[in-house]
């Protein structure tokens, strides 16, 4: 009886876990190992394997060495860092603004919530298409508005210096509702009594912000910064849609890592090289995230 039940239990476990374990093996663990092995070789993904003929050609860490000594990699990394430097302060400011505005109960707040949220619902492809058109130097509304206040707008996506800021603008628009929502959750968790007590003690608005609100929501800020940096290293649809038509922007000004990985693998069929590139992406993301985990002790406050 007992052993029959045990057998029954084992069968049940196997049955319920089967789809996920199959997927875990086929689409995660085996590909991770394969990707690493691939990164040690040169292979076009097409030619039949024939080790005697050197297909695939095992090069050890040759791909990594090649990528790291290529000026292009550092240029591409620079583009991402440029994006991060512009994007992080702007996204923090705008999404905190969204959260603060939505943390009210004025009439019509529901409509504002929907407005702020629309870009989050929009697919990146549709969002990037409209931004490409919004940023059109001559026929787009942004430069038209700038003309209206007497500023001659730049060529945006057609100008090597302004292409990345254009991508940043679109990304802020797309993401601020989402991160606003996360900050809203954090703001709603603040005990109103703290604020009231500080008011009674005569704390100014600025003091309340710096001494109460920001420390309390600092875990949320930390979380958003970590996510934003991970996402920044994985920019893709906006780059492909807004600045494709050539080589990602004028003089490749918006070339980024995932765009490179995609091109190397699926346009130039350098599978090993692209796999090595993707592992470098992992190492960079992992490194940045670990670094932030270490640094958080200095500024993030957790409740005991």
């Amino acid at each position: 009886m007992q052993s029959e039940l045990q057998r029954d239990k084992l069968k049940t476990i196997m049955f319920f876990l089967f789809p996920s374990i199959l997927g875990l093996l086929l689409f995660s663990i085996i590909p991770i190992i394969a990707s690493f092995l691939l990164s040690l070789s040169k292979w076009d993904g097409l030619t039949r394997w024939n080790f005697k003929a050197g297909v695939p050609n095992i090069v050890g860490f040759g791909n990594f060495k090649e990528i790291l000594t290529d000026a292009e990699f550092w240029k591409v990394l620079g583009h991402t860092l440029y994006f991060i430097v512009l994007y992080i302060p702007l996204i923090l400011f705008s999404s905190l603004l969204v959260a603060n505005l939505l943390n009210n109960d004025f009439k019509g707040i529901v409509a504002y919530r929907v407005f702020y949220f629309l870009p989050v619902l929009t697919s990146w492809v549709a969002g990037a298409l409209v931004w490409k058109w919004v940023l059109s130097p001559l026929y787009g509304p942004l430069n038209e508005m700038l003309r209206f206040i007497g500023i001659k707008g730049p060529g945006w996506l057609q100008d090597a210096a302004w292409a990345m800021p254009g991508i940043v603008l679109a990304s802020i628009w797309k993401d601020m509702g989402f991160f606003g929502l996360i900050f809203l959750g954090a703001l709603q968790g603040i005990n109103i009594e703290y604020i009231e007590a500080a008011k009674i003690d005569g704390a100014t608005w600025w003091q309340r912000l710096m001494k109460i609100t920001l420390p309390i929501i600092s875990p949320a800020i930390f979380f958003v910064v970590v996510i934003c940096i991970i996402n920044s290293f994985q920019l893709f649809p906006q780059i492909m849609i807004m600045t494709e038509g050539g080589s990602a922007g004028p003089h490749g000004a918006t070339q980024v890592m995932v765009e490179r990985i995609y091109k190397y693998a699926f346009k130039y069929f350098k599978m090993g090289y692209a796999a090595a590139y993707s592992w470098l992406l992992f190492v960079i993301i992992f490194g940045f995230t670990t670094l932030q985990m270490k640094l958080q002790k200095k500024w993030v406050h957790y409740d005991e």
Binding site: K9, T12, I13, F16, L17, P19, S20, L22, L26, F27, S28, I29, I32, A34, S35, G45, L97, V98, L101, F106, F117, L118, P119, V120, L121, T122, S123, W124, V125, A126, L129, V130, K132, W133, V134, L138, Y139, G140, P141, E144, G177, F178, F179, L181, V226, I230, N231, Q234, F236, P237, M240, I241, E244, V258, Y262, A265, F266, A275, S278, F282
Partner: protein, 275 residues
């Protein structure tokens, strides 16, 4: 004091409206452009509101591309992916939460660890294997990887863990099998989290670009996002058509949002954790 009760709403409406204005400009421009003829696109000064309104772009997009097919493909792929993800993940989550066995925690840790690896690392081998199996340019190849979703397993497991064992024990007393417990106790009690995950999984599948771009090349198999990017390459300056297509692609998600707002909100707040 009087002063303060007036100033605060004024400040709110001022800031909230200015922000809304800037967020809505692209949407306004999208709608406005989709109602223009090709000639009206390149006018200086720009036409904020089209001088003559024409719905031609909406007809054109169906003429130059199998766009109705793309809408169907997106719906089909998104519904199927969501169903598979939720079913597979909740089955695994049930075991990880409620059925003890040796090495369970270790296995669960492996599942979680896979979340650290960015999708770009695994995409190349998956592509190569699917190609070997002849599944490139098929819906099977597009959907197959959704069978494993570590994030969904994690979220469902956290939720199912909190279901009191008393409910399960009561069912066991009644002679219920593991299957009965899953179907009549676990699933019904997990409806809120299933809806939440369902909504974000559906939105993710509907808006996905990277994976369809790699897997699909046949026009009649393309999903909406991919179709739009294809049109972007072919009709570079025909923004009236591109905007009409973008607008159409947004409608289903907005409709779902209106009916399932609370699940979207909770879903995206969860989604942040995934990153």
């Amino acid at each position: 004091m009087m002063n303060k009760t007036i100033v605060k709403p004024i400040l709110f409406y001022l800031f909230a409206s200015v922000l809304a204005f800037f967020i809505l400009i692209p949407f306004f421009w999208m709608i406005s452009t989709s109602l223009k003829g090709y000639g009206a696109l390149m006018s200086i000064p720009i036409q904020w509101i089209p001088e003559t309104i024409s719905f031609k772009s909406f007809a054109q997009i169906f003429a130059i591309f199998p766009f109705a097919r793309a809408i169907f493909n997106s719906a089909f792929v998104s519904i199927l992916s969501t169903t598979i993800t939720i079913l597979s993940a909740s089955m695994a989550a049930y075991v990880f939460a409620k059925i003890k066995f040796r090495a369970r925690e270790k296995l669960f840790l492996v599942v979680l660890a896979t979340m650290m690896i960015p999708g770009q690392v695994t995409v190349i081998p998956i592509f190569l294997v699917l190609k070997k199996l002849g599944l490139i340019n098929t819906f099977t190849g597009l959907i197959a990887p959704t069978i494993f979703n570590a994030f969904a397993i994690f979220m469902l497991r956290q939720y199912i863990k909190d279901i009191p064992d008393d409910f399960i024990n009561a069912a066991v007393m009644d002679g219920a099998s593991y299957f009965r417990i899953f179907r009549s106790v676990i699933m019904p009690l997990s409806v809120p989290i299933i809806m939440t995950l369902g909504v974000i999984t559906f939105m993710g599948a509907w808006n996905d670009y990277f994976w369809p771009l790699i897997i699909l090349s046949d026009k009649t198999k393309m999903t909406l996002s991919l179709a739009l990017s294809q049109l972007n390459g072919q009709y570079v300056s025909k923004y009236n058509i591109l905007m009409a297509g973008s607008l159409l692609s947004m409608i289903p998600i907005i409709v779902i949002y209106i009916f399932a707002q609370k699940y979207f909100t909770s879903g995206l707040q969860l989604g942040g954790i995934k990153g």
